[in-house]
Amino acid sequence: MVEEIGTNTEGDLIINVGPQHPATHGVLHLVLTLSGETIKKVEPHLGYIHRSIEKMCESLSYRQFIYVTSRMDYLSSHINNHACALTVEKAMQIEVPQRAQYIRVIMDELTRIASHELWWGAMAMDLGAFTPFFHAFRERETITDIMEKTCGARLTMNYMVPGGVMVDLHPDFQKDVKSFIQLYKSKFEEYNELVTGNIIFQNRMKGIGILSKEDAISYGCSGPVARASGVHCDIRKLYPYEIYSQLEFDEILDTAGDSFARYMVRLKEMQQSIRIVEQLIDNIPEGEFQAKTKAVLKLPKGEFYQRVETARGELGVYIVSEGGTTPYRIKFRSPGFSNLSALEHMVKGLKIGDLVAAMGTLDLVIPDIDR
């Protein structure tokens, strides 16, 4: 740790980016080795908000542990809950009612839009443009309002339970979502005008942090990061869960693998999510929103793995059950962890300014990495 204070033997400057730093959006700690402004080495130090969720879950019942997972990747908490609920349902072979499945998918996609909105604003802020952040929050606010009406929470929803969803939709839900879609469509052009088309922005993003297809696979990248490098990895398409197999949407792929490609993939993904919500919002079937389940859930002995597509990539829930009411071991395969491991490869030899441009497009959420 001593060497982090000054310079190393080769005369390179060593600086700490984080744990408190405006670029890291949380308590990520990167130790950079710099030669002038050029990055020679990036070393992530994790654990500043490690709560050992995996250990906590070992003493929580199958109903309780879902709530803890909202705190992992707090920007897509619906999808985390969804993954856990799916794993339990898969293990116990619970049939989820159609209505619940529709609600879950709509909520997932709204979460994805909200998460990408926040990323878009934060990304622009990393590059020194403050205004887009506020524009992004205008739309995101509408989504959190919709969530609040139905789930009672704005960030950590805890809405998905094994067997369905916790409560039925708010009566205004369909109306609100439709007016959100209207708002979003009218504002989307603004995003491109304000940021995407900007020549400075394009110069900062194009050709920066290139991740080839082979590297993306080798580093275990997933989600928009891998798709921007041309890897087919959308779990919703490859291993469909819920009603995704019946829906029409495109898996956004790019081959450039640079920061701009990752940016464009996320921007286009928001529109695909809107497309999914549009398909579902008018057709939510009537009926039960939750399957009848026992008060105390007991999973059969065995190992269960469920992968879902969160806003950041592939989330895996791996439950090892001994047949009791609590899991014997739980492992969350978090997308951010693997995406972060590719960071050094992406930014080596670039300037400090490129570090934020590349790291921003990874869309790191630190609680997701630390768990």
């Binding site: 080798s218 087919h232 190992e303 014997y328 490869h345």
Partner: protein, 154 residues
């Protein structure tokens, strides 16, 4: 590019290494390999054109109190088939060869497993504590880990 079924995979993987054993149950094929044969086996599944498991999406450890299971989840981005590889290792002296030179993602994942379970990955380029402080004593995710201050008994 058709994904192999579990049965086909079983036959194919036995060709690579006849000594592997299988565990029934679960959605995916569960394969057991001895620690000594791990390296040669994973190199084959990574490079063989028939299976091409190039995506290591999960690497973790399960503490079974008598032994550790290192669990690898593999997927192929070409064929889209998956399988689970398990390696049983000694709990008193947990050591296993690294796979971080074959799948780069394993470098961080193995550091995490080392940090939380104390499993030593031989030939790992940079095996240090990743999450816990450098001077931390003990391996938190082991079943017998006790911490009077930070853990609350329910």
């Amino acid at each position: 590019m058709i994904a192999m079924t579990n049965e086909e995979l079983k036959i194919k993987l036995t060709e690579f290494l006849p000594t592997i054993t299988f565990e029934e149950g679960g959605e995916w094929l569960n394969v057991f390999v001895t620690p000594r044969e791990l390296r040669s086996f994973v190199q084959k599944i990574r490079t063989s054109e028939d299976v091409l498991f190039d995506y290591l999406f999960c690497l973790t450890c399960v503490d079974w109190k008598t032994h550790f299971n290192i669990v690898y989840h593999f997927s192929s981005t070409t064929y889209r088939h998956n399988f689970v590889l398990k390696v049983k290792i000694d709990r008193a002296n947990p050591e296993i060869e690294t796979v971080s030179d074959i799948w780069r993602t394993a470098e961080m994942l193995e550091r995490e497993v080392y940090d939380l379970f104390g499993v030593k990955f031989l030939n790992h380029p940079d095996l240090r504590r990743l999450i816990m402080p450098d001077d931390w004593q003990g391996w938190p995710l082991r079943k017998d880990y006790e911490d009077a201050i930070n853990m609350i008994k329910l």
